[in-house]
Amino acid sequence: MKVIVNVKLKAGVLDPAGKATENALHSLGFISVNDVRIGKQIVFNLDIDCKDEAKKEVTKMCEELLANTVIEEYEIVL
């Protein structure tokens, strides 16, 4: 099955790339924009048919490698 993992900085952790993008949008005149956050999307195929088992496996991947849970949070989309 196709797996999407979205990783982003936790709320409260300053996101320098998001801030720079927000400033750029403001200078282009998009002044209604605020609180821009930039994350990563990791997409892959997983050879596991059972959704529960897949979720368990991907959670392990996130905790061990895909996210640094000190400052990042992740979302798994199956």
Partner: protein, 220 residues
């Protein structure tokens, strides 16, 4: 003193680091990250871009085969020094608390910077005075150290904050957004050290500073 310097694909400071420790008369060797054992008093994780810094800095280095031996070395109370990318590795391994974020300016910063010695009750900075200002190069894109307030207070209490960025007069001058201007820390037992600046690049008058040799000498 025996020093093992670990070389990962993408490391670029292993030779400078070996040169610095050789200058101090240490018996040093560079070990490839696929080795499985380490026989040394001090393990150094040098600067660079291990495994290309893909995903996050040091995220993949954490799983290099030699890391089992590095963790075992830590467990038995051996000394470990992580410089720049090596500091990021120690955070990823959980051997030091906190995490690294991109520099606030988003710029890669490479220049000499002043550092203030916050604590010298450890082997690494034992030759330095508290409040002393050291001039050491920094070279990083992700040196914005992050830690929650509770852990920060705990670290302050246990004298784990070793170095802060400052100007020539010792006033805090933060180049990367790091919490509390922190440039270097250690673990509770004062055996594991991590810092973003590069002491190995400040070991000869020709480099523009000899402050680094004074720091590294502490391990002897």
């Amino acid at each position: 003193m025996k020093v093992a310097i670990i070389n990962f694909p993408g490391t670029n400071s292993e030779i400078d680091t070996k040169w610095a420790f050789d200058k101090l008369g240490c018996d040093s060797e560079i070990l490839w990250h696929k080795e499985s054992s380490i026989d040394a008093d001090l393990v150094v994780l040098p600067g660079g871009f291990s495994h290309g810094d893909y995903l996050r800095t040091a995220a993949i280095a954490k799983f290099s085969p030699i890391m089992e031996a590095v963790k075992a070395h830590a467990k038995k109370g051996g000394y470990i020094l992580g410089i720049c990318n090596g500091f990021q590795m120690l955070l990823e391994l959980g051997l030091l608390p906190g995490a690294m974020n991109k520099n606030l300016s988003l710029n890669f910063i490479a220049k000499f910077h002043c550092l203030k010695v916050i604590s010298n009750s450890n082997k690494f900075l034992s030759n330095c005075e508290v409040g002393e200002i050291l001039k050491v190069p920094i070279a990083h894109g992700e040196g914005n150290y992050h830690i929650d307030n509770y852990s920060l207070f705990k670290m302050q209490d246990k004298e784990q904050i070793l170095l802060k960025y400052c100007d020539e007069n010792g006033e805090i001058l933060n180049p990367n957004g790091s919490v509390d201007g922190i440039a270097g820390i250690c673990d509770e037992n004062k055996k594991i050290f991590g810092l973003m600046p590069h002491p190995e690049r400040a070991c000869d008058e020709l480099n523009g500073s000899v402050c680094g040799i004074k720091m590294l000498k502490g391990f002897l």
